[in-house]
């Protein structure tokens, strides 16, 4: 187990040592800032204010850094999440195979299963770290603008009703939901990883993964009754499950 953790540590070190990581994380941060500026200077803030007045009252309390952080995370990940994660997961095998790095590993006394497991797990941990980074930086930006404290309001198209939380409960729910959000990216990692293990160019694995998910999302949201019985089977429909962690009362499955 110690050796496995050591190997996983080096896999993660390699992923994080790449310049792409810093550029990628920087772009996420930039998008968050742009979102915040547009939101506060444009009509977004007024729209949120109206929503808060309508559902919760107490504008000052609910227009908090936490409320804005949630919106920033949702927007940023919707825009870039799938692209970046599929790039990482599609690259990890296809690029190493193309560059010849994989050969140096395959001549080592390690089973292929273990090697693939290490790479897959490192992708998932990398994704979770990315989500936590986006969550923390969004919260920082939100608190910078709105100050520390207040309450949290969560409103999203997939939520049946608005959820309202106190500051610390909201904080807990926020990070809990972010962890859930990173876990629902498993299918994204899985598809890109699977495609990357075929003899394809790294870009192909990334592009095909994105194409599959876009097609899946469009079909899953198709406003046709014929699609209704199948809606739950679409990958992206399942990925929306992370919102459940932001319900006022989380609908845990009991059986």
């Amino acid at each position: 187990m110690r050796l496995f953790c050591q190997q996983l540590g080096w896999e993660l070190y390699r992923l994080f040592a790449r310049r792409r990581t810093y550029i990628g994380f920087g772009i996420f941060l930039l998008v968050e800032i742009v979102f915040y500026l547009i939101w506060t200077r444009g009509g977004g803030a007024r729209q949120l204010e109206r929503m808060i007045e309508r559902f919760a009252g107490g504008l000052d309390e609910y227009l908090s850094g936490l409320t804005l952080a949630f919106l920033m995370v949702a927007f940023t990940m919707l825009l870039l999440g799938v692209i970046f994660v599929s790039l990482i997961a599609g690259d990890i095998l296809a690029k190493e195979s193309e560059d010849g790095n994989l050969r140096l590993l395959l001549v080592r006394p390690i089973s292929r299963f273990r090697l693939l497991l290490l790479k897959f797990l490192s992708c998932q941990i990398y994704t979770t770290t990315l989500f936590l980074f986006v969550a923390a930086s969004s919260l920082f930006i939100g608190c910078l603008g709105q100050g520390w404290g207040g309450k949290m309001l969560v409103a999203a198209p997939d939520l049946p009703k608005v959820s309202l939380f106190d500051w610390w409960e909201g904080m807990g729910r926020y990070f809990f939901a972010i962890l859930g959000f990173s876990v629902v990216y498993l299918p994204v990692i899985g598809i890109a990883f699977l495609l990357g293990s075929l003899r394809v160019k790294p870009a192909t694995a990334t592009i095909v993964t994105i194409a599959i998910l876009i097609a899946d999302r469009i079909m899953g949201k198709m406003p046709l009754e014929a699609f209704d019985p199948y809606r739950d089977y679409f990958i992206t429909s399942r990925m929306d499950a992370w919102y459940l962690l932001l319900y006022q009362e989380i609908p845990w499955v009991s059986d």
Binding site: L3, Q6, Q7, W10, Y13, R14, A17, R18, R19, D99, G100, N101, R103, L104, L105, L106, V107, R108, P109, I110, S111, L115
Partner: protein, 301 residues
């Protein structure tokens, strides 16, 4: 130490096997050269030896451990440079060694540094790989192959792209490894001179089949090789063949029971104006050309 038993691998049903019923063995402390044209099956054979390619038939044992059944245990005794070594360019040489050795269970830093010093990279080991020359990468490849200490070293075209100085250095290092550590080495190369100077024995592959296996010192013992020049080369070849000689590449061969002086006299009698007639050491090149043209078969079955 290494035993390859009747391995066959066919990638495409419509094509002949990449390796066809190949068997050979390398004893402990010996250096064996695997020779062949491009596409002769050398890399496939090495892939099977390393457990990276599954054979359709046959198997490989390393120190009595079957690669195809207990790959991890068998490969734990092997260090390899398999084709052009591709390191992680954005990491330093040291970090690359750390990453790679972690897959072999880890190696102490003192052992790593000792190896780095031996390959002469101690001053640049903390530089990024992207700043390394080809020769430095090759030295690092040798270092990673030797960590942790293997018993069998597999080298696939190790001097490809190296300058002459680098080739000589690499050759000396391989010989030192054999002499100092008693390493067994399987070396695949298309550089005949390299194989000739380093290897104790050779296996020549052609179209996936073994066409020769034997000691480097043994081959050609039944032939004598000459370098002959004459005004009219066609006439020279005609006359040479008339006296029972053969021409392989640029070399002229006769069997050992023929007298060279008689042969020269016979050429002159045939009217060939000979300007040079020099007996040569039998080179690996002549052997290689002989087996390639099907004139010579296995030195050892």
């Amino acid at each position: 130490m290494l035993s390859v038993e009747s391995i066959t691998k066919q990638f495409d049903r419509n094509r002949p096997p990449a390796v066809d019923d190949l068997s050979f063995s390398v004893e402990k402390g010996r250096i064996c050269g695997l020779l062949g044209h491009n596409g002769a099956g050398k890399s496939t054979a090495l892939g099977v030896v390393l457990g990276m390619v599954y054979p359709d038939a046959g198997g490989v044992t390393i120190d009595e451990v079957a690669v195809q059944h207990e790959r991890e245990k068998a490969i734990a005794k092997v260090g390899a440079i398999f084709e052009a070594p591709a390191f992680y360019d954005y990491l330093s040489g040291w970090k690359n060694l750390k990453v790679l050795t972690s897959y072999s269970g880890g190696v102490s830093e003192s052992e790593m540094m000792e190896m780095v010093e031996w390959v002469g990279l101690e001053e640049r080991i903390h530089d990024r790989i992207s700043k390394y020359s080809h020769g430095m990468r090759q030295r690092l490849a040798l270092a990673q192959a030797l960590l942790p200490r293997p018993e069998l070293l597999i080298l696939d075209e190790p001097t490809d792209g190296l300058d002459p100085e680098g080739i000589v250095e690499f050759r000396e290092q391989v010989l030192e490894l054999r002499d100092r550590l008693g390493l067994t080495v399987l070396l695949s190369s298309h550089l005949l001179s390299e194989v000739e100077q380093v290897c104790d024995e050779i296996v020549i592959l052609q179209k996936g089949k073994k066409v020769y296996e034997g000691g480097v010192q043994d081959f050609g013992s039944d032939d004598v090789t000459f370098a002959i020049e004459a005004e009219n080369s066609d006439a020279l070849i005609f006359a040479w063949e008339k006296i029972g000689g053969r021409k392989v590449g640029d070399e002229f061969l006769i069997s050992q029971d023929q007298n060279p002086s008689d042969c020269l006299a016979a050429l002159v009698n045939e009217g060939v104006k000979v300007s040079r007639f020099t007996q040569q050491e039998n080179s690996l090149e002549s052997l290689y050309l002989q087996v390639s043209s099907g004139e010579k078969k296995e030195g050892k079955a």
